[in-house]
Symmetry: C2
Subunit: 119 residues, 2 copies
C-alpha cells in the first residue's frame, strides 16, 4: 500500500496515447495517459469511460457536439457513444473505466494497446 | 453529457463526511467528499476503495501503519482492510469504489449515509 503521486506518475510516462494502470478498484481501472494530437473515432460497446483532465485542455468530439474539458473538469462518456479525443497541447488525463476497456474501443489498429502496463 | 468542474462541485457540497456522486462508470461510483476531523474505523467487505486527495492532506490510518496523502496523491485501500481517514484541515477527496460501497463499511451508526446524492 504505497501512495501514488500523480505528478511523478505522469512524469514517468514516456509514450503518448498509451494509458497506464494507476490502480484497480474491483473490476474497474484507473488509468493515466499523456495525450497530444488527434486520436481516432471509436466507441466502447459495453464500457462507460470517465475522462478527468489533470493538466491542459482536452477536446472531446462527438458526432453531434464538441465538449471542451479544462484542468479539473471531467466528463462521463456513456458506453456506445462514438467519441474522438483531441488535444492541441499536451494533456494529462485520468480515465476511470472497466478493466476490460480497450483504448481504441471497437477499432483495432496500430494504436491499439492490448496490454496496459502499470505506472 | 455536461462536464463537471471539480472546484465548483466541491463548492456546492455543504456537509462534511457526506460523499456525493460525481459520476457512475458502469457499476463503479466516482464520489466527491469534503472531510475534516476523524472518521471511524471501518472496512468494506467486498469493495476496494481508491482515495485521491485533491486539496489538503489526508491521514489514512491502518491498524499497522499510517499513510499520509498530500494533494495529488492517491492510495488504493483493498477490500477487507480496516482504515480510518483523519484530516486535521479540510480535505477534498475523490473516491472511486463500487456503487455498493457504504461510507461506514461494516459499521452502521449516525454517520452512515444510505443514499448518496448527486453533486
Amino acid at each position: 500500500m504505497e501512495p501514488l503521486n500523480l505528478h511523478e506518475a505522469f512524469g514517468s510516462i514516456d509514450a503518448l496515447w498509451s494509458p497506464r494502470l494507476a490502480a484497480r478498484v474491483n473490476d474497474t481501472a484507473v488509468k493515466l495517459a499523456r495525450v497530444q494530437g488527434e486520436f481516432l473515432w471509436h466507441h466502447h460497446e459495453a464500457e462507460d469511460e470517465l475522462f478527468l483532465v489533470l493538466k491542459g485542455t482536452l477536446r472531446l468530439e462527438f458526432r453531434d457536439r464538441v465538449v471542451t474539458l479544462n484542468e479539473g473538469e471531467m466528463l462521463l462518456v456513456p458506453r456506445g457513444v462514438e467519441h474522438r479525443p483531441v488535444a492541441e497541447e499536451e494533456v494529462w488525463l485520468m480515465l476511470v473505466e472497466p478493466s476490460s476497456t480497450l483504448n481504441t474501443g471497437n477499432v483495432r489498429n496500430e494504436r491499439t494497446i492490448d496490454r496496459v502496463e502499470g505506472v
